[in-house]
């Protein structure tokens, strides 16, 4: 009676095989796959819906799961393992020259306004530089100056002092001491970034002689 059905049952691969097929298709296909799709791609007589049910069960609690998306199916990372798909990269970068100079001016001249910083540096201070130093918690807003416009001032923070091993900002060496420590003798040619390390004292001496008269 059930002759024609028998035929197709005979043709269809065993359910274990069908499960393998669904697994491979879900894995390799770039989009979620509908049962209709699976029927179209698998050999005649297969029952992808049943195979899907087995496969779904098999992946329960695994690192990836068989999930339903609309009327289609896909293999997805288990929700609790999402953190593995993130990679935190910590990069250590040297503070920019502008930021170091701004920071130095705040440290030596605090409380200091933005206009004063600009006057001392001789160039305008970008908003980003100030923001960066505030975000690093190395400077913060101080009291407003009692001058026209009542501009805000900047001061260094406790975090700054901790980072640089200072008890307070007055401990910073003065110009005279900087000179004594040889730090002022190093005159970098304008426009060159390198500091102390790359300077050649003898070359400097020669340069300054040129401008001595």
């Amino acid at each position: 009676m059930a002759k024609p059905q028998n035929d197709s049952l005979f043709d269809a691969p065993p359910m274990g095989e069908q499960e393998r097929m669904v697994e491979a298709i879900l894995f390799a296909t770039a989009d979620p796959v509908t049962v209709q799709d699976l029927i179209g791609r698998m050999p005649h007589g297969c029952d992808p819906a049943e195979a899907l049910a087995y496969l779904r069960k098999r992946y329960e609690g695994r690192g990836v799961n068989v999930v339903r998306i609309g009327d289609a199916w896909a293999i997805r990372t288990a929700p609790d393992l999402g953190f593995l798909m993130q990679k935190e990269i910590v990069e250590t970068r040297k503070l920019s020259r502008a930021a170091i100079e701004t920071l130095a001016i705040v440290a030596y001249h605090q409380p200091v306004t933005r206009a004063e910083i600009e006057e001392i540096r001789g160039v305008s201070v970008s908003r980003g530089t100030i923001d960066q130093l505030i975000e690093m918690e190395w400077i913060r807003f101080g009291r407003r100056k009692m001058t026209p416009g009542r501009p805000v001032t900047f001061v260094v923070t406790q975090g700054f002092l901790d980072h640089f091993g200072l008890e307070n900002a007055r401990d910073l060496p003065g110009l005279k001491e900087l000179r004594g420590a040889g730090l002022l003798e190093n005159r970098p040619p304008p426009g060159t970034v390198p500091l102390g390390e790359t300077e050649d004292d003898s070359a400097d001496a020669g340069q300054s002689e040129l401008f001595e008269d």
Binding site: V90, K94, I100, E101, I105, L183
Partner: protein
């Protein structure tokens, strides 16, 4: 036509067709070694038992045929032909004990090795390409999840950086790069340019000071600069034969005039 004659004919024709096919296809060979390997197949033996002498003869015959058909053979085919002719003579003649260098057998063995190695590589290549291949027989993940790179940047600075930064700012004022003040300087090139235009109008002796540009005589520095430049330019023009220069006495005015081109 007799049946056996007919057969003989077809035999000859098929042989000729085969030979010509080989020749016409010469462009399909990847060099003499490839051709030799193809020819060696006609010996229907294992490459290890191949007769290099017979192969050399086959190759030479092939080259002869190609010449007869006036096909142009690339130079390396001809080099190989020359080498095989040499090898053939080595193999045929009894070895000369006084002659140094490898024997014909050694050379033949090496050629056999080369052919076997090339054949082996061909076979290996075929096996490689017959393997299951990614994205053809087996597949990688279709839906990939990108690893998000969360970048956290931590900035550092040392106390030394800080102090040097400050020192840099505070000493910037004492430090000025050497820049020539061009505003009050006239170069010789400028003076020369100027005088080339003016000299055409000066027929007679003229004081050099009259060539000084307007507005440069008030300021002593500018006056010095422009006088020096104009004088240097005059010397340059005299050297070129464009003008003549004279000075009546020490500290007397220097005069210049245009030099007329001499005919003849």
């Amino acid at each position: 036509m007799q049946p056996d004659e007919f057969e003989e004919d077809t035999d000859r024709i098929s042989a000729r067709v085969a030979a010509e096919a080989l020749i016409v296809d010469v462009g399909a060979f990847e060099g003499p070694l490839d051709l030799l390997l193809t020819l060696s197949r006609t010996q229907k033996v294992d490459l290890r038992q191949i007769s290099i002498l017979a192969l050399a003869q086959q190759y030479l015959a092939f080259v002869e045929q190609a010449k007869a058909l006036r096909l142009e053979l690339a130079a390396d085919y001809l080099v190989m032909a020359a080498w095989l002719a040499f090898l053939k003579s080595r193999l045929l003649l009894p070895p000369d004990p006084r002659e140094a260098g490898p024997s014909g057998e050694e050379l033949a063995a090496h050629l056999a090795f080369q052919l076997e190695r090339l054949a082996a590589m061909r076979e290996a290549a075929a096996k490689l390409m017959a393997r299951d291949q990614l994205s053809r027989d087996f597949f990688a993940r279709g839906i990939t999840e990108d690893v998000q790179r969360v970048r956290r940047i931590s900035y550092t600075a040392t106390l030394l950086d800080l102090m040097q930064g400050y020192a840099r700012i505070r000493t910037r004022d004492d430090f000025r790069p050497f820049v020539l003040d061009r505003q009050h300087v006239m170069t010789m090139e400028q003076a020369l340019e100027r005088m080339r235009h003016l000299i055409g109008f000066a027929g007679d002796w003229t004081d050099i000071s009259s060539y000084l540009p307007d507005g440069w005589d008030a300021d002593p520095q500018r006056r010095r600069s422009t006088t020096a430049a104009t004088f240097a330019a005059s010397l340059e023009l005299a050297k070129e034969g464009k003008i003549e220069i004279r000075q009546g006495d020490t500290f007397a005015p220097i005069q210049i005039r245009k030099k007329e081109p001499r005919n003849g």
